[in-house]
């Protein structure tokens, strides 16, 4: 067993969070007012204040709003800042449904959504809403015709993740939006909400043009700070916000704006270090090839990683069940021991092992689910990290005790 590496050799858990990009940190420092220069500049002021420092702070917020809008393919006026992806999902999902409750109480989603979406759906289900979970294939994707078939006259909302956070499966958002518009006409039929937290900056998105009604994003997945996110909300769409009151953010999100967070978010998106998906996919494929070559039997969970239509460029989920029967947590710690950070596909505790709901929805056998790890790339993942992982991960896993005889 190699000695524990305290330093990170390869941070491959970017779908959990990313380090803050230097441009984002600098932009945040300028509006904190913690040092004399930024205090004199006055940008720490409340953006709702009417003095010029408040106006200047508001202008910084507006800049960030434009940066988010540019990446999502929307106008700046359609961007509402929130405390993160979870709040954006709740605002979008609960907001649409509560605004449409007189027309029906039905919504369409999948079983592979992020917990923040499923928890909002659970709130509605407890209020008497009916939910249709469109089945996903072995690749984690839905077919647009299945989504359309699930829509009923009383359907208020369709909500899907553009990129699944555990397996990187991409839903055909554009085709689904087209199908809905074709079936019901523009602005008619159910609203379409997209959880774009893992998609932001990594895959093509033109939500405004596609006819998506709302989309949620989060700063800390793209080199911004934690605690800030945004909801794109199509102009003219009525929402009933879960937390009413306040003038900020078009009345949808009360409370003084998190100016440092918002500014950091905008700066991270505008940063030259923000990698395009096209840059990450070859790195991911190199990692995958290296691991499979060194550890025959490693299997991909979800879509074909090389398929740019089906798989996000930065997330890959691998099962090591054919290599070792040890649970994912042990593999994760073994990789931790050689300085590689990734994530176990399942939230597991000794007393209550709970296999990943996403992998379970793919119809994978339990043993395969329990031995699965997610590797995810981000703005700070370079070729060196991939080399490190390919060099050290196989040895770390091969050195684990062989338990085959026992099961």
């Amino acid at each position: 067993m190699a000695a524990t590496h305290d330093a990170l050799g390869a941070y491959l858990d970017n779908a959990a969070t990313t380090p803050v990009l230097p441009e984002a940190a600098a932009a945040m420092a300028a509006v904190l007012g913690a040092d004399p220069a930024s205090r004199r500049a006055g940008l720490f002021a409340n953006p709702s204040a009417v003095h010029r420092w408040g106006l200047a702070a508001a202008e910084r917020v507006a800049e960030a709003r434009r940066a988010v809008a540019a990446v999502l393919g929307t106008t700046a006026a359609e961007v509402v800042f929130t405390s993160g992806g979870t709040e954006a999902n709740h605002l979008g999902i609960l907001g649409h449904c509560r605004a449409g409750v007189r027309r029906g109480r039905h919504l369409v989603t999948t079983a592979t959504e992020h917990r923040s979406v499923l928890s909002a759906v659970a709130v509605l289900a407890a209020e008497g809403w009916q939910v249709t979970y469109v089945p996903v294939g072995r690749d984690g994707r839905v077919r647009p015709e299945d989504v359309l078939a699930a829509v009923r006259p009383d359907t208020i909302l369709v909500t899907l993740a553009h990129v699944n956070n555990e397996i990187g499966a991409m839903q055909p958002v554009r085709r689904i939006a087209d199908a809905l518009r074709h079936a019901f006409g523009r602005g008619e039929g159910p609203r379409f909400h997209v959880d774009a937290v893992q998609a932001l900056g990594k895959v093509d998105a033109d939500y405004g043009a596609w006819g998506v009604d709302s989309a949620s994003v989060s700063a800390h997945k793209v080199g911004g700070p934690k605690g800030v996110g945004a909801l794109y909300l199509r102009r003219g769409t009525r929402l009933l916000p879960p937390v009413p009151g306040g003038e900020q953010e078009g009345g949808l999100r009360p409370g003084t704006e998190n100016v440092p967070g918002i500014v950091g978010f905008g700066a991270a998106l505008a940063s030259r270090a923000q990698p395009a998906g096209a840059l990450l996919r070859p790195l991911k494929l190199r990692l995958l090839a290296g691991l499979i070559q060194a550890l025959p039997g490693v299997e991909v969970n979800g879509p074909d990683p090389a398929d740019a239509e089906a798989a996000a460029p930065h997330i890959v989920n691998l099962s090591f069940a054919a290599v070792t029967p040890l649970p994912a947590e042990v593999l994760l710690h073994a990789l931790e021991g050689v300085g590689i950070a990734c994530s176990a596909g399942s939230a597991c505790s000794a007393r209550r092992p709970e296999p990943s709901h996403v992998l379970a929805a793919l119809g994978l056998p339990d043993a395969r689910v329990r031995g699965s790890l997610r590797f995810s790339l981000g703005p700070c993942t370079g070729p060196a990290a991939i080399d490190w992982a390919v060099r050290h991960a196989p040895t770390a896993i091969a050195s684990l005790v062989r338990l085959e005889g026992r099961r």
Partner: protein, 399 residues
């Protein structure tokens, strides 16, 4: 001199300790000084401990501190009225106390340590009780009073109190030597450690880290359990045993049904080496008879035989519900149930042997280089000093 608030701690059992009494009292004073808020003063008077808190510190903080001093059987938040003073001073204070309590009935429980005082105990009860009753209109109820006001006439002062709170009992920390507890991160071992420490033991602990089969989360959990125990016993010396190589060797060379027992034998052997370095005189485990497969009488015997030091098992006769209740009371339960796996789940045999013979277990170790594995594990182990605040640098002045 004016009235002052103080805490009276009683320590019944120590009073029996004859010639060693001063050692016990010194240990108790040391513990009380360490636990009480900074700026407090502590004295002994007769067979009781008087603690004075600095201005601005809540009485509750002082009570909680004394409730974490082994040796204290009861704690009384009290008022001290310096003598010489008129009886009126005493009755006035009793009236105030009765009014503040919100009680509907009361009784006075007086004693007269200063036998030269004019009124004896029954007379004091009558006198003070009458005054309180007259001033407040509260009923006297000798059998089930809402409020019992205790008062003590001593040569230096009157002492009054309205409540007697339980202390932890036991003997002062450090009067019984040092023991080392084997900690898994589960519910039982910290409770066993608490009970052993209650009888005056200083605590060391051993945790066997099996990275990567257990993560750093489990190690942090054990550190946090030691922090909780340190609130009662002072610093805990925690050994983090490097157990991975031992565990792997066992997986490779020991028949599956006997692996858990051999794991435990190896842990005891390594722990005994830690004891030697610590000058600890006993090992403590959280074993409870029959709770799991490795806690049958046969299994305990087959495991325990490798230890030369006495093996203390304070929970041997306790039920899980009793253990959980005590764990909640001493504040270790919330830490123990944090969801971090211990390696048992990965390595647990499917069909463990529940009634092994000693010969069988010895035979299972045939292919194991026991001494070399123990020596290597000890050499790669790490020692931490855990205080209430967290892990502190070690050693401060050598061990």
């Amino acid at each position: 001199m004016t009235n002052e608030a103080l805490l009276i701690g009683h320590y019944a059992e120590i009073a029996l300790k004859g010639g060693n009494r001063h050692l016990f009292e010194r240990a108790l004073l040391r513990a009380a000084r360490a636990r009480l808020p900074a700026g407090s003063t502590v004295d002994l008077q007769g067979s009781r401990l008087l603690a004075r808190l600095p201005a601005g510190v809540a009485v509750e903080a002082g009570v909680s501190a004394l409730q974490r001093c082994f040796g204290i059987v009861s704690v009384r938040p009290a008022r001290r009225l310096p003598r010489p003073a008129e009886l009126q001073v005493l009755t006035d204070e009793a009236v105030l106390m009765a009014r503040a309590s919100g009680a509907k009935s009361f009784k006075i429980n007086a004693r007269r340590a200063d036998k030269r005082f004019a009124l004896n105990s029954p007379a004091l009860n009558r006198e003070v009780g009458g005054a309180v009753s007259a001033a407040t209109g509260l009923q006297v109820d000798l059998h089930h009073p809402d409020l019992e006001i205790g008062l003590d006439v001593r040569e230096d002062a009157f002492y009054l109190w309205g409540a007697t709170l339980p202390g932890p009992g036991g003997l002062p920390t450090g009067t019984a030597g040092r023991a080392l507890v084997l900690m898994s991160g589960g519910i039982d071992s910290p409770v066993a450690a608490y009970l052993a420490a209650k009888r005056g033991l200083l605590l060391s602990a051993a945790y066997f880290h099996t990275f990567p089969y257990t993560g750093e989360g489990t190690r942090q959990k054990v550190i946090d359990l030691c922090r909780a125990l340190a609130a009662y016993t002072g610093d805990v010396r925690l050994w983090v045993g490097h157990f991975t190589d031992v565990q792997v060797a066992i997986q490779e060379r020991v028949p599956e049904p006997l692996r858990t027992l051999v794991v435990r034998r190896m842990m005891l052997r390594i722990a005994e080496e830690f004891c030697r370095r610590e000058r600890a005189g006993a090992l403590v485990t959280g074993d409870s008879l029959g709770q799991v497969a490795s806690q049958t009488l046969e299994a305990l015997t087959a495991v325990g035989e490798v230890a030369a030091l006495p093996l203390l098992r304070p929970l041997i006769a306790a039920d899980k519900t009793e253990i959980v209740a005590l764990a909640r009371q001493i504040g270790t339960y919330e830490v123990s149930v944090r969801p971090f796996d211990d390696c048992c789940t990965v390595f647990a045999p499917k069909h463990p042997r529940t009634r092994p013979t000693r010969a069988e277990v010895r035979d299972a170790e045939r292919d194991l280089e026991v001494d070399a594995l123990v020596a290597a594990a000890v050499a790669r182990s790490e020692r931490l000093r855990v205080t209430v605040a967290g892990v502190a640098a070690y050693p401060p002045g050598g061990a």
